[in-house]
């Protein structure tokens, strides 16, 4: 229960009265589409956010409902390969490039036999200096049950992991120590970004509920969701505390991923800035329904299409159709196609040339140059 001050209560009365007159004037025959709230209604949950982070936040808020920012994920981990595809197809770079900490165990700064180096900030810096917005996500892999492989998949098979997220409450456990180790390693990379003045759209622990809440027999497809909502929320808050309060990471905008019907997995307004949805049945009508449902559930949060692309069953609707159906996602991020990037497939599996051309021709999608101008870098 929240207390409301007298002046706030007065303001509410005024708004109600005003709304009444407004509705009478309209005749109130049509229910208006839910529109995003004014910019001032949203705020970052970290009061110590850096100036660059606040600037990025202001940009997101100012464009919300008017334009969508374009985004892609890296080709697996630490590059802008997919952004280059989009540039080749359209002559535009997407506004956002999202890097994935999926292979931190193979980073050369912690593994002499590693095949990539997250401590080398070159890919991130180059993207940032070109005017792009940096995003990071984390397919948090841990040792599989066979003791050699790394995986996110929960289960008892040799190639899966029985890593228990509920052990976040047990500081004496091996899992707890591993979590601290991994979070600290990733925090080190994010700190390097902070030192370089780079704000980050940070989306950890995504798709946690899997299809647990969607149908009977559904389950989590990542270990961080394997022990249910309470363990997951505790892990989220643990990570938030470790990164923000312990490591003083003030360059992060925290994005929580909602799956279907999983509102009880929401970690809380005080530790989440943006609510995302991943969708690979990305047709305009169901997307609009999902956007509106999220907006009603999280009225104080920006809503974003954190992952999208063609799915097994359908091809994603064109962005012009998605927008015209009423979706007002803050940004979208299309997924990578390893085979396309390796030259073994001629057709991009998730979002190809035609889709991207339509997006930039829709008049409501911002590219990297446009956000660079808006950020006045």
């Amino acid at each position: 229960m929240q207390r409301i001050s007298q002046s706030t209560a007065m303001r509410h009365k005024f708004i109600i009265l005003f709304s009444f007159f407004f509705c009478v004037g309209c005749g109130a025959t049509e229910v208006p589409e839910p529109q995003p709230k004014p910019v001032a209604s949203y705020s970052l949950c970290n009061a110590n956010a850096t100036a660059e982070t606040q600037q990025l936040w202001s940009l997101l808020c100012s464009q919300y409902g008017k334009n969508a920012l374009s985004g892609v994920v890296a080709n697996i981990d630490w590059n802008a390969r997919e952004a280059e595809n989009v540039y080749q197809w359209t002559g535009h770079y997407p506004a956002i490039n999202v890097f994935d900490f999926i292979n931190i165990h193979a980073s050369k700064d912690v593994n002499k036999n590693g095949w990539l180096d997250y401590s080398d900030m070159t890919p991130v810096e180059e993207w940032h200096q070109a005017g792009g917005i940096v995003g990071c996500m984390w397919h948090w892999q841990v040792k599989a049950n066979n003791g050699t492989n790394y995986t996110c998949s929960p289960g008892v098979e040799p190639g899966q992991t029985s890593f228990d997220p509920a052990k976040v409450n047990d500081p004496s456990s091996a899992e707890y120590k591993q979590m601290i180790h991994d979070i600290d390693q990733v925090a080190g990379y994010l700190k390097k970004m902070q030192k370089r003045g780079i704000a980050v759209l940070w989306r950890p622990l995504h798709e946690a509920s899997g299809n647990t809440s969607e149908f009977a027999g559904g389950g989590a497809w990542f270990w961080w969701g394997a022990k249910g909502a309470e363990a997951y929320k505790a892990l989220w808050r643990f990570m938030y505390d470790r990164m923000v309060n312990y490591h003083k990471l003030n360059n992060l905008i925290w994005i929580w991923n909602s799956q279907m019907n999983d509102y009880d997995w929401y970690p809380g307004d005080d530790v989440v800035d943006i609510v995302g949805r991943d969708n690979y049945y990305a047709l305009q009508y169901p997307l609009a329904k999902e956007f509106k449902a999220l907006q009603e559930q999280f009225p104080n949060k920006l809503i974003t299409l954190a992952e999208c692309g063609n799915g097994d069953e359908v091809e994603m609707s064109l962005w012009s159709d998605i927008w015209s159906e009423g979706s007002r996602w803050s940004w979208f991020m299309t997924w990578y196609d390893y085979n396309y990037n390796a030259g073994t497939s001629d057709e991009h599996q998730f979002a190809g040339e035609a889709w991207w051309k339509d997006a930039f021709n829709s008049g409501v999608v911002l590219d990297r140059d446009e956000v660079k101008g808006l950020m006045r870098r």
Partner: protein
């Protein structure tokens, strides 16, 4: 005349060793059991079931071959049990496709095939023809005899195969990996000497108890193998996990191909969908209720309540004779409940006339959100059209 005598003499001379070597029996023939084309589209939605009758005389060791075209780089094939839709053996649940793909029959697989038939599935290719050939049609020469290499679970082990082993390898031949100690999830990777996969289809291909045979259908992998020369240089590396590599053989087809199609099964005729058509072809809905067809939500995105579905079909005389009442029903793809949300499914009896389905608000929302499933008994579906009121 003198020359003719010489040719006859030569023919007789050539025939003798063959007659003895083959036990005086003509070489076996590869015979067609299914004639396509049958498109296996996206998302594992399509399949075709080879009828059980084809396997009556098939023996363990015989080979089923699926000739195909239009395979995308990411195409996968599968041999499945039509009852369970699981792979007929773990290594046949899914595999990459590059050219014709094959399955060597075992007692276990034949048991399924003779009872239920075998479904060929996967995604992103088109079946042209399916054949069965006797094991005698294939001659194998062991070219590598070890020492055996155990492929550990971390993919760290590999076997180095010298170039001379592939001196006789030709396009169309197969490389057979003889394996043992196969664990669950075993997979193999066949690489050139630079550690790159010889082909995407052999980059982690599933390994079963009977090993694997990879047929080479184009020059590219051959060239990669031959780059190392034919001497003692390493030409191929075999890696993977969860099995022991014991031997490698080169398999060559030495049989004949029969053009007799008299007992071949024919794939249903394929149609190119015209605007407004959601389905056009032949889909049988037998009396055992196993028939269903899913239409996704994409065609309905701009539908209105005034649009209608027109469903065309042919009644199945056999079902009628067996006392089955032909009927169909439209269901929600998530819940399998009635499309309109009603507690009990609505059944549309089929009398030979097309079914016209009018959307109400609930059904319209359902199809625009997730499409629908058509289920029923006693008919062959021929067409579904979406007719726009616009």
């Amino acid at each position: 005349m003198k020359r003719n005598k010489y040719i006859l003499f030569l023919l007789a001379f050539l025939a003798l060793p063959c007659g003895e070597g083959c036990g005086g029996v003509l070489l076996a023939t590869e015979r067609t059991i299914l004639l396509g084309p049958k498109t296996i589209g996206k998302a594992w939605k399509d399949n075709i079931v080879l009828e059980a009758r084809h396997f009556k005389d098939v023996q363990p060791g015989d080979v089923l071959t699926v000739y195909n075209d239009r395979a995308k780089g990411t195409a996968q094939g599968a041999f499945q049990n039509p009852q369970t839709w699981q792979g007929v053996a773990p290594e046949y649940g899914y595999f990459g496709i590059n050219g014709p793909f094959r399955m060597t029959m075992t007692e276990d697989i034949l048991r399924i095939a003779r009872t239920h038939g075998i479904a060929i599935g996967g995604h992103d290719y088109r079946i042209l023809r399916v054949t069965v050939s006797d094991s005698a049609d294939y001659r194998e020469t062991i070219v590598w005899n070890g020492p055996a290499v155990v492929m550990k679970s971390d993919w760290s082990a590999s076997a180095e195969i010298e170039g001379r082993c592939f001196a006789t390898l030709q396009e169309g031949d197969g490389l057979r990996l003889h394996v043992s100690k196969v664990q669950e999830g075993a997979a193999a990777k066949l690489m050139d000497f630079t550690w790159n996969a010889l082909d995407p289809s052999v980059d982690g291909m599933p390994v079963g108890e009977n090993g694997i045979t990879w047929y080479i259908h184009d020059r590219a992998p051959l060239l990669k193998l031959q780059l190392a020369g034919t001497g003692s240089n390493t030409a191929m590396r075999v890696g993977g996990k969860g099995y022991r590599l014991d031997q490698i053989g080169i398999v060559q087809f030495v049989g004949e191909v029969s053009e007799d199609l008299s007992s071949a099964q024919r794939a249903p005729k394929e149609y190119t969908l015209q605007p407004g058509e959601l389905f056009h072809g032949e889909k049988y809905f037998p009396a055992d209720w196993s028939g269903n067809l899913t239409i996704n939500a994409a065609p309905f995105q701009k539908c209105t309540e005034n649009d209608v579905l027109l469903i065309s079909y042919r009644l199945d005389p056999a079902a009628k004779a067996a006392g089955v009442t032909p009927q169909l029903s439209l269901r929600n793809t998530r819940t399998w409940g009635e499309l309109t949300g009603a507690a009990e499914p609505v059944w549309y009896p089929l009398d030979g006339n097309d079914v016209v389905y009018l959307f109400d608000a609930v059904a319209l929302d359902a199809v625009k959100t997730r499409g629908f499933i058509l289920t029923g008994v006693g008919f062959t579906l021929t067409k579904i059209e979406l007719i726009s009121a616009q």
